[in-house]
């Protein structure tokens, strides 16, 4: 059995990602839980690097570290308790959840092992990143065009759901109050 450097790296990433992922629901600290998830994502990003998808790997690392930094703020905001004073065990239907987790693993794992996977079709092009860039700007452009409105809709929906003030609260009933009445005025003086 010959073990290459890539294999060692992959198994390291595999162990780190799964262990860190499990720690998310084990540790007693909001910050540790969040950053354990970040570590899990970074490990998957590195695994993608090892599988010849450098761009995807770096993007996963970049996005997820950023996302978890924001996630930590939401954790502290919404956990509604002080983890230094009480242990962070807020679970329900614990046993059935474990059963569901184990069942999921057995089902998916059986699929991964038992399905007769086809052999590799084609080889990766020399520059995967520019091939991806050409794909999203040419043959698969429709995907990205569709993604644009989805993102805009997400932004609008997110603001509508989370903001409790409307422009009438800011600018008055006739929308003519300048500067606007904001609880936290911004730097531009709109």
């Amino acid at each position: 059995m010959n073990l290459s450097l890539v294999d060692v790296g992959f198994w390291l990433c595999a162990v780190v990602s799964v262990v860190a992922g499990a720690l998310v629901f084990y540790v007693d600290s909001m910050a540790r839980a969040t950053y354990a998830l970040a570590v899990s994502f970074v490990a998957v990003g590195v695994a993608l690097l090892l599988m010849g998808q450098a761009y995807m790997g770096v993007i996963v690392i970049l996005m997820m570290v950023m996302e978890m930094a924001v996630m930590a703020v939401y954790m502290v905001m919404f956990m509604g308790m002080n983890p230094a004073l009480m242990p962070m065990s807020m679970v329900h239907s614990h046993r059935s959840s474990i059963a569901a987790g184990v069942g999921t693993f057995l089902l998916l794992g059986a699929g991964a092992v038992l399905v007769p996977w086809p052999t590799r079709r084609g080889a990766p092009t020399g520059d995967v990143t520019s091939a991806l860039g050409e794909a999203i700007m040419e043959s698969h452009m429709i995907v990205m065009i569709a993604m644009g409105p989805v993102m805009v809709a997400t932004i609008v929906a997110g603001v509508v759901l989370s903001s409790h003030r409307t422009r009438y609260d800011r600018l008055g009933d006739d929308l003519d109050r300048r500067p606007a009445d904001d609880p936290q005025p911004g730097g531009v003086g709109r």
């Binding site: 600290s29 910050a31 540790r32 950053y35 970040a38 450098a54 761009y55 770096v58 993007i59 690392i61 970049l62 570290v65 950023m66 978890m68 930094a69 924001v70 930590a72 703020v73 230094a84 520059d127 990143t129 936290q184 005025p185 911004g186 730097g187 531009v188 709109r190």
Partner: protein
């Protein structure tokens, strides 16, 4: 990766980063000393004396601090700077000559979000936590303009590889026709290195914020790391906007070094002139004013890039 420098070059690069960071720290404290009417010489040597003092200081313990997170954050700042420098081509080649060097630098500066917040969180003190939150709020303001600023040289050069980007600026540096992106990038460098004027997270009004409870070696690592991040960000600006190692007489690495020193020195000087903005003020400024400007800059670059091809 084939064009990367041999591994032995790690040593001179790290020594260079340390020396330049120390000089920038000396410049900063010399200016500070002059403002206070003290002798400039004592300011210049202050970083060295401070280093010696912090090495001998006793480490500080706070009540139920998250030592794991706090220690990992304080010891991550300098490695972050070293990693950024590793992707910067010194002349024709970098320590790590990766086809996605630009994206890597972006990913690394995002790690500062995690590091700075954890610095504030781990210590379990009010001022530290306020500082951490302030940094994150500030980061939201500078990061988007920074990301779009980074795309300008990539579009102009048609590459994400830093060595190729710097090689494309034959004769005309990108800073000449992407000035808005350059300024936004420098703004972001000041942001992720938590240097003035982008340092409300470590401001004196919150008793030092993320630095409040740091003492001894931990404090040394973070203070030095902030300067190292500033220098690393400036070094990355050289291949992105300032023609890389291009210049007469000296070899490529010499010009990279000189330009890095100039940029980081200018950033220190600029930081002393500009007012510190609160994160809420700065967020709106970043998203409503700077971001559209940078996107317009990207548009101009794209049009020129398409037209000249």
């Amino acid at each position: 990766m084939a064009d990367s420098l041999p591994l032995v070059y790690v040593v001179p690069v790290m020594v260079g980063l340390a020396v330049v960071s120390l000089s920038v720290a000396g410049l900063s404290s010399a200016l500070e000393a002059r403002d206070r009417g003290l002798s400039v010489g004592s300011g210049l040597t202050l970083p060295l004396r401070e280093t010696a003092r912090l090495m001998r200081q006793r480490p500080r313990r706070t009540v139920s601090a998250d030592r794991l997170l706090w220690r990992s954050a304080s010891s991550a700042v300098i490695p972050l700077a070293v990693l950024i420098v590793a992707f910067v081509p010194l002349g024709a080649h970098a320590l790590v000559d990766h086809p996605l060097g630009l994206v890597w630098i972006n990913a690394l500066d995002v790690v500062a979000w995690a590091v700075m917040w954890l610095l504030g969180w781990g210590v379990n003190s009010v001022t530290g936590l306020v500082g951490g939150y302030r940094f994150l709020a500030l980061a939201l303001g500078y990061e988007l303009p920074l990301m779009f600023a980074l795309t300008a040289p990539a579009i102009a050069a048609g590459s994400l590889n830093l060595a190729e980007i710097s090689a494309t600026q034959d004769g005309l540096w990108f800073v000449v026709w992407t000035p808005v992106a350059f300024v936004a990038y420098c703004w972001g460098v000041l942001g992720f290195s938590v240097r003035p004027p982008m340092d409300p997270g470590a401001g004196s009004d919150v008793n030092g914020g993320i630095l409040a409870e740091l003492a001894a070696v931990d404090r040394l690592l973070v203070l030095a790391g902030r300067y190292a991040l500033l220098v690393a960000g400036s070094a990355a600006a050289v291949p992105l906007f300032l023609g890389g190692g291009a210049g007469p007489l000296l070899p490529g690495w010499g010009w990279v070094l000189i330009k890095t020193i100039l940029v980081s020195g200018l950033l220190v000087l600029a930081g002393r002139r500009l007012p510190t903005l609160r994160p809420d003020k700065l967020l709106e400024l970043g998203w409503v004013v700077v971001l559209p400007l940078v996107v317009a800059q990207d548009l101009v670059v794209s049009v020129i890039a398409v037209a000249t091809n």
